[in-house]
Subunit: 309 residues, 2 copies
């Protein structure tokens, strides 16, 4: 089962030529989860040639213009296909008002159901087969949430020799055991999955963190993330500025990743428009001093998130 | 006094890579007038390296998403400079609600005054030194207006030989006559400007027409436009489709230009996303069969609008 992150934009505050506003689409098999939706997000979706008009859920970090003004266009164009399931839009208070006023004031014709869920406190905000998404509070100039999509554990590795020892011959029964179901052996006794499987294996975890000033509570929310996409808006010399504006430096993002424990990769995002493409290298190098597996996300980058065990 | 149109986007419905949503910035000396403001308009403004953060007036044709969702970003970023004059936003009913809900729901910090003027009937909607802007009704799926910016007439050509004949020597008095003021000649008699000037010369006219189905009343509104920017969304084979959706074919746009009389150039705009860059040529060739001075506007094109007399 594939899990891939499509980086739709990496900029903060304003879109630049070649650098759209921060937004990430996560694709888990056929399901699509969009994290933030600034102006121009649909351009990146199109550039990536994604079939995106049946997004399952939009998660909004907060309702500042640079994170949401691409949403009306997405909602409108999603009506160009037929869908049975509703589109869920999950975000902080004001999300429903934004969606509703967009629909009415802009007179949008929408041919599917929209379910808005406003988050009032941290916790699981969405669940489906095999995974859940948890929202956690961030500290910005207005109410803001980070998100972590976490898959359930998978059954452990199957050991054929143990199955044979238990009297279960190769075939359909092996599949059942691999899925965690008990079966009957050749001599009529019951064989439980844990007799033939190794320890349960972790699912994958993706975390998305922006906009926020640094605080140490972020780390525990992103623990074990295979991919953490986290704002690293400024270089170290602007740490005070970042704090004032409710943003993080790349170094602080790296500290979050390091302190979380067991983070696979840190993808920096939400770059200040003051930095040219060349300048961004400094963000990466500052982050790597603290957390080696840091990298600059780039517009239209596709990041595979494989199982690690 | 320069008058230039900067084409910020030429697409309809959705922004495409390389084709932003329909928007035109008109610059008259230092003054800036923005016509429509879809998602991504600010990217084009930046690509053109325009100093755009003190726009005088935004004119909205209508409040469909593809014509207005770039506005919140523009309003937000305009706070990065200091300005004394308010920003005027002029558009159909719902404009005030859109601006107001954007400000409140998106929590925008705006450091200047915004004056919204909703248009309830055709007529002059904005005036300043030497020009006025007239709104006229279009026929789309919701209330929609076209706009024509028209300069006042300028004094006629100055004839030095006539001034000398009237006893006015070369110097500051000539300037006064050229500006339309009367002066005193060497023998004490009064010399009126019309004794030394040719017939008054027309000012320039710019007209912007989108979105609308074709109707013959458009022509009289754009009569004499030096530059008419007008939607030509579809090729002839989709005329019925255009009519249904409240849009025009390129041929119909050309008919408007031809029937108006004395139109200088017709710039087609608001292309259907179904057309590739290559396909667009067909729109141009269909329009030119009806009105020779038709051309395809292109993203980031700069069109000078000179005096013609």
């Amino acid at each position: 089962m594939n899990l891939e992150a499509f980086v739709l934009g990496t900029g903060g505050v304003m879109p630049l030529p070649g650098r759209h506003l921060t937004s990430v689409l996560l694709r888990r098999e056929g399901d699509l989860f969009l994290f933030d939706c600034g102006e121009g997000t649909q351009i990146s979706l199109r550039q990536l040639k994604l079939r995106w008009k049946k997004i399952n859920v939009v998660f909004l970090s907060h309702t500042h213009a640079d994170h949401v003004t691409g949403l009306p266009g997405i909602l409108m164009l999603s009506s160009q296909v037929d869908r049975d399931d509703p589109l869920y839009i999950i975000g902080p208070p004001n999300t429903a008002k934004y969606v509703e006023t967009s629909r009415t004031v802009l007179n949008m014709h929408i041919n599917y159901d929209i379910v808005v869920k406003e988050i009032t406190e941290p916790g699981i905000v969405y669940e489906d087969d095999g995974f859940s998404v948890r929202a956690f509070g961030l500290r910005h100039t207005r109410q803001c949430f980070g998100y972590a999509l976490e898959e359930e554990s998978r059954p452990g590795v199957f050991h054929p020799e143990l199955a044979r020892d238990c009297g279960v011959p190769e075939g359909p029964l092996w599949s059942k055991l691999q899925k965690g179901e008990s079966v009957e052996s050749a001599d009529g006794s019951t064989v439980e999955p844990d007799q033939v499987l190794g320890a349960a294996r972790h699912g994958r975890k993706f975390a998305y963190v922006t906009d926020t000033r640094y605080f140490d509570g972020i780390s525990r929310e992103v623990r074990g993330a295979d991919l953490l996409v986290c704002e690293g808006m400024f270089t170290d010399d602007l740490t005070a500025n970042a704090q004032d504006k409710g943003h993080m430096t790349a170094t602080q993002a790296a500290r979050v990743a390091r302190d979380a424990g067991n983070v696979g990769k840190l993808g920096l995002i939400h770059y200040s428009p003051r930095y040219t493409e060349h300048d961004l290298r400094k963000l990466a190098s500052e982050a790597r001093l603290v957390f080696k597996h840091s990298f600059l996300t780039r517009d239209r980058q596709v990041i595979d998130i494989p199982f690690t065990e």
